[in-house]
Symmetry: D3
Subunit: 255 residues, 6 copies
């Protein structure tokens, strides 16, 4: 294949690719604040990059990214206080995924992997997939849905956080995302703005209206100072290995 990226393919190239029943990846993300140093499109740029890596490894195709996602929650992404966080209603996001899957299946695709980069998206993606599966019926379609950080191994975390992993719940615009972005798109990182704020301090529930004081003024939930391009490369490399393995396992070994 000249390219694995569907919006860059011509239709005959895509038609040709479909003959091998490839895995079609749908990168999903959001347009949302990621601290003072990271671009607001991070949540779709990162899974687009991961999906491209994996697609090249497994002979897959990467569909156009879903560039808008579900609403930012205060505890996981800073909440609605930061201009730029642009949340779709849940039903809208579920409908997008349902429609895209319906169409990919109509094209002939039978192996679909939703690769998400925005924590808050997950359940509306699940629902969209479920609605699509109900619609497409008994055609042998198989869908996989994953969020990339779920693949992080103990070993990787040990290397990225030599002083101890503070936990995924604080990893918004922090070391992991910053490192990945420094690796994939350093041109979009403001290296001199990497924040060093104290961890967000939120209780174990949500409120409406949300409370501004739960999250640092920077919008990152914890310091990102430990980030580096090398760590990003390390994570990206582990993702490539393990997500490719999982994709092969699900779609080819188990079928």
């Amino acid at each position: 294949m000249r390219t694995h990226v569907m919006p860059e393919m011509t239709w005959p190239e895509y038609a040709e690719a479909l003959k091998s029943n490839p895995v079609v990846f749908i990168p999903t993300g959001a347009l949302e604040q990621h601290g003072p140093h990271l671009p607001m499109g991070l949540d779709y740029l990162v899974p687009s990059a991961i999906a491209k890596d994996v697609a090249e490894a497994v002979g897959g195709v990467v569909a156009a990214p879903v560039t808008y996602g579900y609403k930012s929650m205060t505890r996981s992404a800073g909440g609605p206080f930061f201009p730029g966080s642009t949340g779709l209603d849940g039903q809208t996001l579920s409908s997008i995924i349902r429609d895209i899957i319906r169409e990919l299946v109509r094209h002939g695709a039978r192996r679909i992997c939703v690769l998400d980069g925005n924590y808050e998206n997950l359940w509306f993606l699940n629902e969209g997939i479920d609605l699509a599966m109900r619609e497409v019926g008994d055609k042998g379609v198989r869908v996989m849905c994953l969020q990339h950080w779920e693949f992080l191994t103990e070993e990787t975390l040990g290397q990225v956080f030599p002083d101890g992993y503070p936990g995924i719940e604080l990893e918004h615009a922090a070391v992991l995302e910053t490192s990945l972005m420094m690796h994939y798109r350093p041109d979009l990182v403001l290296f001199d703005k990497v924040p060093d704020n104290a961890p967000a301090d939120a209780p174990c529930y949500d409120t409406w209206p949300p409370r501004r004081e739960w999250v640092a003024k920077e919008g990152s939930l914890i310091s990102a100072k430990g980030a580096s391009p090398e760590k990003g490369a390390l994570i990206a490399s582990q993702y490539l290995r393990d997500i490719s393995a999982a994709v092969k396992h699900e779609f080819y070994e188990l079928g």
Copy 2:
């Protein structure tokens, strides 16, 4: 501004940009076949590029593109026969636009321009805008919605089609789109695949199921042989001038 492209901005940069009450552009398009020579993401890549040009000229901001659009119709885009054409349901597209506008307004934006590159999107964009306006109420929000080809002047058409303009209804994956893509993203054009097919021959109505024979096997509605990067540059330049002027007129002169 370091960049006018919102997904590449940090949130403090966007917050700063909002202070001038800028025009926020939403490029909308589709993932859909564009003949044997053009990438399937063309319909959002082109308006993204135009919006970036105009935003730089008028001090605006370009939101993340809406990468999926309404269903391809046979007479205007070849119909569902071509793998890769990936259509959202009308309500899904309207909901996306409604949600994005609702959120931009929540950020503080008051001047919004939907810049569309997929013919079939228009009415579902209109509806999404109308639903958003009903919701946001009396906050002084003003929205403009345009499809770029509507701005083509007689003069430009005369230069691009020295032998006569066959009409917009055949201009899918043809001279205009091919030239624009040769200008904006030549890396994504297969110059050796530019088709030279006969014009599509369709009646003045639509049918379901659609009729395959109304459109050439290439998926382009007419020959694209006359395309060139120079013509693309000419069109892009006229767009920049006239869309910028319209935007300034609507949002600044009339207010």
Copy 3:
């Protein structure tokens, strides 16, 4: 058949008619301003009359008209400034058409023609038809959707506009609609109120809120002075001939 109009039929008459697998026409329109001289129901009255003519010619059945349609846009129908223009949400209109088609198919109808008289309806009709087709599945249903003015020939336009055709985009409550109404329902035309206003002057895009100054205070987009019952008869006669031919071609010749 005693009558071709379904709401005037008894159910045994309709059951009898269905035996020949007739074309069932669904006239669609709107309740919307049509200048100072024309009734606001014009957009469903005209396609109801055309559908009746054609149904008599091809042995079809005319279902009850859809009396409300999509929202009036300023450039094509004067916009929301005129009391009486009563627009449904897009999803509502799509649902109506989807539901009616689902039911006609349940009755046993397999040939359905949506005959529209309100420009703004088209895409929501398309979507409703598409949703219905997805639902009814593989039953051999065929649907055709048309807007009557698309059938106007060069010859007819030459006779109706001896001084040159100003183009369909200005033909709201103007010479074509006025003439048709003078022909079909002269009792509903206020002959002494036929307006002679200057053409509407609108740019090539839409805005929200819409701009009142784009359209003449009368609500007609251009002078209707050239209208006459004779011209209406001429158009109606050409419609009868050509729409009947297209219907026969699609449903009987091609099947």
Copy 4:
């Protein structure tokens, strides 16, 4: 007023009428079987006629009829066994009413009366009105919703049914509807087909799939033999008196 029927009015006439804050009537009905002798549009034709009578008496306006309604239930209208009964989904009907009321209020109307002729419509009309009221907020809008047969007095019933009233639950395509149609639109009644079937015999609940044996093969729930134009005139006259009185009471006396 030249006419009280909104789709026959021009917009300036309607604008003029609105100045007196008139009651705007929305006739609602269905396209559905009404026995071997009555037209399938009866359920919107009758309330249109009643609304016109009442509007002339109280200075009101009659909007375009809603020509499609909710699904025929076996016990009240014969069920889905009869070709021609064309039911909308509940949400579709509610959306239609919600949209129409929203628009009438936008025109300036504040007094709205939904006048229904299809038993199964009621709760979806109620819901549509409720949704509209929630939307329009605190503008002093008042809506009334009625089904015409609820206004029948003991006295009228005594005259129409000298041998005793069998009850409203059997009155589909029977004496009341047949008489009303003989009065309002005798041209649409097949006098020689008036059925004399035995009463429908259904239990006190519904089932899905419905049971064909609960209703006579004619589709009328009981004999219509006692119908006459004179009885129709009697009913119409009582309706005119009592519905006008109720409308005046609600909108003018109580306000």
Copy 5:
């Protein structure tokens, strides 16, 4: 069976019960005012109790009750004036029933009986059932929908109302519901608060906003003084006999 109540069953017990293709009952009700003496959950508590009685008699299963229902209407349940009446939108209620039936069918259930205790629910239940039937297709599913009071016999009414039955339209929080509650859940009845108000006096139509003066300040539509546990037992016993008979007839005799 250890219990017939599904939310009290373990899944292996339910799986075992499904082997006999039992009738699965879905009790539906509301959270809504029932006068000064009755609990607001009455409308789901009563059908839950009836369903349990009937399920024990016919070997059925009772699913979890639907605890919220459609909006209280003034004429039938006092309207929105009483705090505690908590109405769902119509579409929400229809969706709940559609979803539950879809799932029961997925479990393997083929005989489903919706047993309703809230008058206003009926049509949205009907719609939900219809939507579910459309979805589940041709699997031999049969659904029955009933409101318990429809089963009251002349004989029962004669015994409960020795001085004459005032009619079902006034029986909200009155003698029937109070007696049933005194029988099923005397612990939830405030015997010293049983109201003795005059009958509600409402016309034959509805209005929005509703009129407070149509209903007594207590919220019961007529005196409940005649209620007694013995009458409740009498009604419950007749329900058990006749609803069981109807259920057996529909699901086992007719199949």
Copy 6:
């Protein structure tokens, strides 16, 4: 208050309770498999019991439970393999919560706490709350949403799991839920069926169709053998203390 449980209250009691601006709790759960020993209604029974405890402590009111919830996912609740797991569509669940909150606010409630017992519900509850907040506007409404297990302290976990806490992701129908049920409703626990299965073994992503082999045949995700009523009492007591404290903090201290 005679009772804190709204469906057991009369409306005057609820009206009286509202005067103190109490916290109104909405218990949400599901009807879904909970292993061979626990009732399928557990997910709404437990939060109903917790909410009652807390409401008594803080002077609150407990609305009727939402008895159906979102679909069971394989990794967190065993998936769709177990008859009885009855999942609503996401939009249905969101609509229920939106509607209930809208109505509670209409009653005058301003402090609302959604107390959830079904893991999969969370994001659809979040969405329903967000939609309700958008609708009710600026009335000073505050909503809190919590899942009870999030309140478990290290100390409690240490006492409940002396051999180490296997983590919340396996706690479906396991020690925590079994203990709570043994405490609150021992009558609904089959003590002799408490399973001792091996832990579920699932990867870090989901698939459609789901994989049966990820979860033990019992439906519990790990052994429940360590459960006891005493542990249940311990947890319930800690919940009462800490949830009450959080509720007071959010609604009374912060306001």
